[in-house]
């Protein structure tokens, strides 16, 4: 087995948090789409255990609606989430939102990013799959892009 693969397997042995931009890249079908599709394919097949928060799902829906997508496409997106064997939906709740404000204070993040950090804590993981470099300011978080994982 290649050493590189060993490292990759170690990263993916725990649950990873998926950021909204990974799904959005597939919807955009641009340069990152292929890597994101392959990554999400592994989540679909249950080879990668992952989670996304309900808040980040809503963010995707808001973007879709803003760019003219109607109920049918939004329903299709939401329904498709149930088809991933390796994806669970993490509900933030009011307490999660309140705790996120402390992360805003401690790390100087905006609310959306702070919610993701709180979700990482809830899930006992430090791995987020995202293209958003804002997370790089937090030293205990390991951010990976799909290109590095597939």
């Amino acid at each position: 087995m290649k050493p590189e693969k060993l490292g990759r397997e170690k990263i993916l042995s725990n649950v990873v948090l998926i950021d909204s931009n990974i799904f959005l890249e597939v919807e955009l079908a641009e340069s990152h789409a292929d890597a994101c599709k392959r990554f999400l394919g592994k989540v679909r097949d249950g080879l990668i255990k992952s989670a996304i928060t309900d808040f980040h799902i809503d963010s995707i829906v808001i973007v879709m609606e803003n760019y003219g997508k109607g109920w049918k496409d939004i329903a299709l997106f939401l329904v498709s989430l149930l088809r991933y064997k390796g994806l669970r939906i993490h509900t933030m709740g009011l307490s999660g939102r309140i705790k996120s404000t402390l992360i805003m204070r401690d790390y100087g993040l905006d609310f959306d990013d702070a919610l993701a950090v709180q979700a990482l804590k809830d899930l006992s993981t430090n791995v987020i799959v995202s293209y958003d470099e804002d997370f790089d300011s937090i030293n205990w978080i390991k951010r990976y892009i799909p290109e590095k994982l597939v």
Binding site: N21, E27, E30, K37, V63, N66, F77, V79, R83, D112
Partner: protein, 96 residues
């Protein structure tokens, strides 16, 4: 009464056993009570939409290219969501 044998990660098993026993006691049956509740909760979430879910064959292909008319990156769109949310809330405040 039926029985199901399932395989879950060691960590989840440990957490599940601990929570079930703390809630329902350390005697026999605690795990079954917790399991039945968990399965019922999951079923209530999915049973009504099973017919719709079955129409999606591949979840990744299903969403591919939905926003291909938008010439922005995923991160840009994600950050935009915050602004859209704020705009909508402010608009609602204005109309109320």
């Amino acid at each position: 009464m039926g029985g199901i044998k399932v395989y879950i990660s060691d960590d989840l098993e440990r957490k599940f056993r601990e929570a079930a026993m703390r809630l329902y006691g350390y005697g026999r049956g605690s795990l079954s009570i917790a399991c039945e509740k968990a399965i019922s909760a999951w079923l209530s979430q999915v049973s009504e939409i099973l017919d719709i879910v079955e129409t999606v064959d591949d979840p990744v292909e299903a969403i591919y290219g939905m926003l291909s008319h938008v010439k922005k990156s995923g991160v840009e769109l994600q950050h935009e969501a915050r602004e859209i949310r704020a705009r909508k809330d402010l608009k609602q405040c204005g109309t109320n």
